[in-house]
Symmetry: C2
Subunit: 155 residues, 2 copies
């Protein structure tokens, strides 16, 4: 899988969080995920299907970062991850994937998005079960870490 296919997700996440939550994430170095455990506390994930390929994308946040984004977006900071936080993570997942869909569509890679599923649970771990490798993109911020994982079957 070409890194060209993760950059639209990366730029879309930076833009969504800057616009919606006045939050600046610092991107780290993307890598091929190879058994290394990438842990998080709340993740949004979504399936993608197009004529050329299909795959899945996830965005994982540390709890502290998710709560910080919540506070910046809605003005209130819940004590812990609740339904409002998972709704927000689902919305962010939709917006980031929608932005990446537009950018990839411009390059001739069309896909449709399924609906997101949000996982909560301290230190959970995701495995994208594609034929292709999973690209892992870490982000850091003062409030905590985030990462995106993207995997497509045939890219």
């Amino acid at each position: 899988m070409n890194v060209e296919f993760i950059n639209p997700f990366l730029s879309s996440l930076l833009k969504v969080l800057a616009t919606m939550a006045d939050t600046k994430l610092v991107p780290g170095t993307p890598s091929i995920k190879n058994g290394d455990v990438a842990l998080g506390d709340v993740s949004g994930m979504i399936g993608m299907i197009g004529p050329q390929t299909k795959g899945s994308m996830s965005i994982t946040f540390d709890e502290a970062l998710a709560l910080d984004i919540m506070q910046r977006m809605l003005g209130e900071r819940p004590a812990k991850i609740n339904d409002e936080v998972t709704d927000m993570v689902g919305e962010i997942t939709n917006m980031v994937t929608g932005g990446a869909k537009n950018l990839l569509g411009d390059k001739g890679y069309e896909f449709d998005m399924a609906t997101p599923v949000v996982v909560t649970g301290k230190g959970h771990h995701l495995s994208h079960k594609c034929q292709g490798k999973t690209l892992l993109m870490p982000f850091s911020s003062p409030a905590g870490k985030a990462h995106i994982e993207v995997s497509f079957d045939t890219l």
Copy 2:
């Protein structure tokens, strides 16, 4: 959402586990998931997109049940959930959704499947972020519990 749309997933899971793993699950009573926490240790989830609707499906297993299915399918019981177990859960997710896709296709509801994502983490919790309600279908067995959650946008 009509229960007609969860029955194909139910029957497909029973068939896949009986055929592949000689495992008999006892279905409980389906319900609309409404904030009740349905916890599990390993879950496979997948996105679905069709001309009439889109949505997501998940299958969640207790760790003990997942390890028992692994032993019955491959003859070896890992000490804990590892990559082979998550591969197996991803495969079961594909097979169950593929079976349901065929059954729903016969009723005129066509959809394509994305690729599965498998979550591990003690007592994690899933939220399907659809416009529609989430149908929850519990299963029991001597080795542990499982449940399916299905949500579609417009059914």
